[in-house]
Symmetry: D2
């Protein structure tokens, strides 16, 4: 299974501080991934991608993301190492691939982009070959022709585009993106059910328009645990000891940096809070962070005694997520943004 990382900051980050220098960056996670569910092939060596928005909004260049992808492993990509030393951006998606479906091809590397939007996925759509035709049939012609590769992930992105009122719009509200994400998951669940797929799908998706970020930690099961997803926030993210040892510092209450990642990017456990299974995380344009339950038939309330198979130490997580910040928000109110951490 894949790994991803999201960075959003009030100031741009030099990509190397996010991607190549930290000793537990997703590139190093590419070969030392400790939390994944899929133990069959424990490497993310099937290509990678990074997408970013410009630091300075440039009328000429526009606000569309730039994407750099490669089919060779991230950890040994000379171009990535050089570019990451030069490029700065306030909003970055990084992704390393371990193929579950889809061949080794640039067309299959995340993030995917369309107009202002950028999307990536960690997980897998169960029984995708059984639902791909129906999914494609429901796309508009424009969106149908967006799909270039052969992954479930890119099709999920196309489906999300089809849930937007206008995927080519110049701006989106946070709410619009949230709703499209929920609709995408709901539709994939309908397709799976009607195709008789019983295996759960892992749908850790994220989408951004360069302003808002929507990420999900989701599994279409009441019993199993979703793929891991964590976040961290603070005022600065910097190297405190040689050898790529980074940490998030919180100088004050301001949230200048928010990161979301498949696994913590640092070994400072206190810096990272786990996102609950079947929740959506939203970063607003003004850097508020919301965690919102995705309440459908696969939702299990944290207070429900029927625990999921892989207990991810909710108690511990609760400890880390201080009551003020963590417990208050996660009372799933539907249709309302919640909990700004």
């Amino acid at each position: 299974m894949c790994r991803f990382v999201i960075y959003k900051g009030t100031s741009p980050v030099q990509l190397s501080h996010l991607l190549t220098r930290p000793c537990h960056s997703i590139i190093n996670q590419a070969f030392d991934s400790r939390l994944r569910l899929d133990h069959r092939r424990p490497i993310n060596g099937d290509g990678f991608g990074v997408g970013w928005y410009d630091s300075v909004h440039d009328e000429e260049l526009g606000s569309q993301p730039c994407i750099f992808t490669s089919v060779t492993p991230a950890w040994n990509n000379a171009n990535l190492i050089r570019l990451a030393e030069k490029i700065k951006s306030p909003l970055v998606f990084g992704h390393v691939r371990a193929t579950t479906t889809g061949s080794l091809s640039l067309d299959n590397c995340h993030p995917f982009a369309y107009g202002k939007l950028m999307f990536m996925h960690n997980g897998g759509i169960a029984g995708f070959h059984l639902i791909k035709r129906r999914l494609q049939a429901n796309l508009s012609d424009d969106v149908f022709n967006v799909v270039q590769g052969n992954t479930d992930s890119e099709c999920a992105f196309a489906l999300l585009l089809s849930k937007l009122p206008d995927p080519k719009a110049k701006s989106f509200t946070t709410r619009t993106l949230q709703q499209a994400m929920l609709d995408t998951i709901a539709t994939l669940n309908v397709y799976a059910e009607e195709a008789g797929v019983s295996e759960p799908s892992l749908m850790n998706f994220c989408v951004t328009d360069g302003e808002s970020v929507i990420a999900t930690r989701y599994i279409s099961s009441r019993h199993d645990e979703a793929a891991s997803l964590w976040f961290s926030s603070g005022t600065t993210f910097s190297e405190y000891a040689p050898g790529g040892h980074y940490r998030m510092a919180k100088a004050d209450k301001r949230e200048n940096i928010i990161m979301i990642a498949s696994e913590p990017l640092t070994f400072e456990k206190a810096d990272w809070m786990e996102i609950r299974t079947n929740n959506m995380v939203v970063i607003t344009p003004k850097m508020n962070l919301l965690q919102i339950p995705i309440v459908d038939k696969f939702y299990v309330s944290p207070s429900d005694p029927a625990a999921r198979n892989r207990d991810t130490d909710f108690a511990a997580a609760k400890g880390l997520l201080s009551p003020r910040k963590a417990l208050a928000p996660v009372q799933p109110r539907e249709n309302a943004p919640q909990l700004s951490i």
Copy 2:
């Protein structure tokens, strides 16, 4: 536009004699292509592929083709150069790509294979984005999932598979493959017409099951010339002068070798005969060669005074392809070349 070459022989050819050593092989045609119609981007540097069947039928290995493809140009591919010195085969497809549609990806490199079948294409399906959905909708589930890349060519192969009674069959008659090819072209013409596509499609297709070979030189127009296609036959194909100067020798009446290629592979013009526009060439398992007109609304009889735009008149001038022969096509005589128009 692309280039391809087909070799079928009673004895295996070492791939290097076909692909890498001749100074006018398709690899060298990759950068010195003299007859192509598309002058916009006169190089075939967007990857290549070669497919072949085993010399000796091996129960264990089966009779499925082996495919080697690359996204780097053929002329500088160290693996191709080394493999071509070692591999021998009695039936080879070679292809160099110049992208018209489809990204640079192994998934988009010809030849494509399915079970015993191998397919490649030189040309382009006009208005493909307008007919792709309908084409895909008419495929069986199995064949739908065969498609891995994003080219018109691979979709045309999938369509051809769907025209076969059983694309996974262990053997095919020549006639079955011929009919599937004709049905594929006819269906693509219907799709184009109904989608309002007016630009002609270039459909130089070839398919084989390891026994028969069917190739077409076809354009969906009465006025324009199809992409070029030539054939040569003889008893030996070998280097007569240093520097990759090859020629076809005809020691006797036997046809031990038949080659079909987008452009002549040698500078010996007398060795090569042009296949007429909107004709199908068939190599039977017993090495008979038939040329059969594809008579539909785009067919123009050689005797018709309404000449196509670019009349090559090579074969006609030589009297090699006489109208008389065209009328008695599919009755293969063994051990003799058949040029039936």
Copy 3:
């Protein structure tokens, strides 16, 4: 043989305007190269590279160049197309490769970089295998270990580094770089002579430290013509007609942009002046352009009646290079041989 382009401007250029959008950019020259000497393999499809300095000097990022290279052809490189739309730089080197020596490898792609310096080459060192050992033996340990690939070009760069007082210096005078370039050529000539190499070497080299640019058009022969090299200057370089038709505009006497290229990047012939064989072109940090003869035993004065084999219309060139533009800038401020056209 390869192609290269150099851009130096008082304002940064968006890379796409230099590399990917012009219909006669070096990427299109990759398959439509009209002026080259080597007709054996008329494509530059063996990889490419682009190097650039930051628009804004950034203390943290430093003033070292960033390099992006690829072994797949430039004209179909999705990453290049995307990056070129985003990156701006006041000093850019671009290079497309057609292998003469050296395998298809990122290590062999130009430009090469070391510290602040960036280097590329169009041509070939004759009999390189005969002089490589001696060349390497004369390098310092540091410079010896710079060489990663197996090309003559990278070794020539290493040799140039060894001619500098301190290749890791934070700044270089234009004069220092000029002298190192002359010493490099002189040393290669000595090596060739002593190794008994009689075939001439083509040494179109260019080097920059991010401030000055030194380029040569040079051949180690009195009789043959060097590989082509042209320059253009003006105030703006922009698209005047759809389809990538660019031209250089000269709004006033200021030289805001200087470009040097293996072939003119536009079809406006009046925009381009040919650099004389066995001359060095220098762009100073303040955007003066000097052309200086490389006077050694291979130098032939323009007034010498013994013309070179391929007469490149020196008279016409003289007409194009008006005194106003040429003489003014070249008022030798730095003790140097001058010759400004």
Copy 4:
């Protein structure tokens, strides 16, 4: 660190049974390597290579090995998977890379070949940058120009070539290859000592001429353990349970198959015997297997109480590698395995 596997059989093996199908093949070891010493980057994803000799000696094709290499990871290489199903060979080298020195390039992928010879390396030459110049200086011109990449391993191969009376010979005695291997190691030790390199080098080398195979498990230290190396022999190597579970069967006393590998290729521990540190293993043309101590200043006798840091004591514990056998090494008896220590 890398992984390799050697197969030599009286009958050819289909490459897939060695490389792609076994669930613990070196391709799967590429991401599940349990015995390696270097824990910093536990993946072999930096390219791979396979080299083999023809099953049938073909006068035309000669007896030179064919090499297939790739910079993308072995586990997702469509060409490797397809070729491995078709190619059979009685003598195969397979190698997966994890870079210690050398960039990601086809030039750096093992095995390396020269004439009839094929070579690969698992380990690293300590302080290579300090000895590279001296090593190169001592090569003949021909051998100097063999080196294409920038790895310590390829230079070690060049050094070995320089130790042979005639590296282009049409045949070699087993003894000649053995001596060249010993000389190579001895020379590298001298270079390291004279350059003041104190870190030990890991020199698991193997070389073959298509007839004999020489492999070493060696470290230039009396205290540390060499990189692991194992062998297995038997009459058939086949899948006994679905899912790629292979084992070596010993139907009788004949040794039809000998495999040497960085790690056991099966989970049947009894099938594999560890080669002792600082020993050389020899497979003779007639399939005798010899194990010979490399007795130099880094040799520690198995009876020496001064154990190495990491004593595996696998073979010793089993009594398979008795000291008695070590004393009478290079006298091959036919048709019987020789374990000479």
